[in-house]
Symmetry: C2
Subunit: 227 residues, 2 copies
Amino acid sequence: MSSSDSFDVTPRTKVRRSPARASYDRSLAHAILDEALVASVGFVQDGQPFVIPMMFAREQERLILHAASSGRFRGALGNGARICVTVTLLDGLVLARSAMNHSLNYRSIVVLGSVVEIDGDEKLAALARLLDHALPGRSKECRPPNAVELKATTVFALPLDEVSVKQRQGGPLDDAADLELPYWAGVVPLAEHASPPVADTSHPPRAPVPITVAAYRDRSAPPRPSP
Amino acid sequence: MSSSDSFDVTPRTKVRRSPARASYDRSLAHAILDEALVASVGFVQDGQPFVIPMMFAREQERLILHAASSGRFRGALGNGARICVTVTLLDGLVLARSAMNHSLNYRSIVVLGSVVEIDGDEKLAALARLLDHALPGRSKECRPPNAVELKATTVFALPLDEVSVKQRQGGPLDDAADLELPYWAGVVPLAEHASPPVADTSHPPRAPVPITVAAYRDRSAPPRPSP
């Protein structure tokens, strides 16, 4: 596993369409992964690709995924099969003067590879990391997994080896011949926002809202500290 | 193509994990598709699954996708290969008293199948639909595609035949034995928010902000009208 500033480009990770929007920068990749809550995980079964949304976490130079030990996903991943984990952050709707120059502003990352199952203390740490990715410190503010729960869950690690980043930022890029057309052009900025936390209504919690939860806010700005 | 209220369940679309969260309801599927701006499109090349974020639209009982005519994506899709289009809307972070009952609130849809290329008037209408999906009425407020642009772009339709919806809503579901534990439990609601539009700074537009753009707001509430 390389830990240089950039990921090596492989034939599979080389971005061919709009290569100017591509990046292999490790810190940019980390930032995108750390901001997102959901990954789209692609795997193949009988020639049919499936893409499933999943919680995930970054732990140093690998991604953590988990699945029910009895589930289809474990079977699809646990045999060394190739998978693809894609994370996309949507930043804006780009409105151009011409139809075909409309676009989205986004940051996305594609990670290719095969997972390995992890176990023992490493498994416990990875499960804690999944919570702390979603909400820093949360793993210390809840009951940790017990033996039955641990057995029912399989935890996987996917190394950050084959990685590419693609992003688009900024305003519309219209053809010169279109610039005087009588159409408005610009960007509608988009971001994920959090509303104030809502306590469990079925069973009012026995503890006040922790600082970590009360302070939960837009994940887009400012960036959270990286592990 | 069925147009009943529900999609037929096939072995490939049968949700096996947490089946209580599954649905095959057509109107729910439409609502999720109409609210989302980005789809995660999965395809296979040389045994490796790839998942790529793409703009898309729903047009009646099919999805519209487009790609550069010269690109890798067209090659991967244009041969009748099976693909998977997954759309995920994130609604909240669910914080439970136990680590393993943490979850996300979300609505997601998985569409399986093969695309067909569409051409002629149908192609023009589909490209307009892509814009109007992102911003209703936008296709009338910009320059339509010209012949060169049309040739450079391939448009695909994926029928809404093999479809499953999965969602989780509501508060944490802790084990009875955990309810008295001294941890806060509840939900942090999440939604995509739009900020006020920003006009093209490089070339100030020759027209004022249209009503459609000025009125652009949270895509999550209230739902936009369905086509």
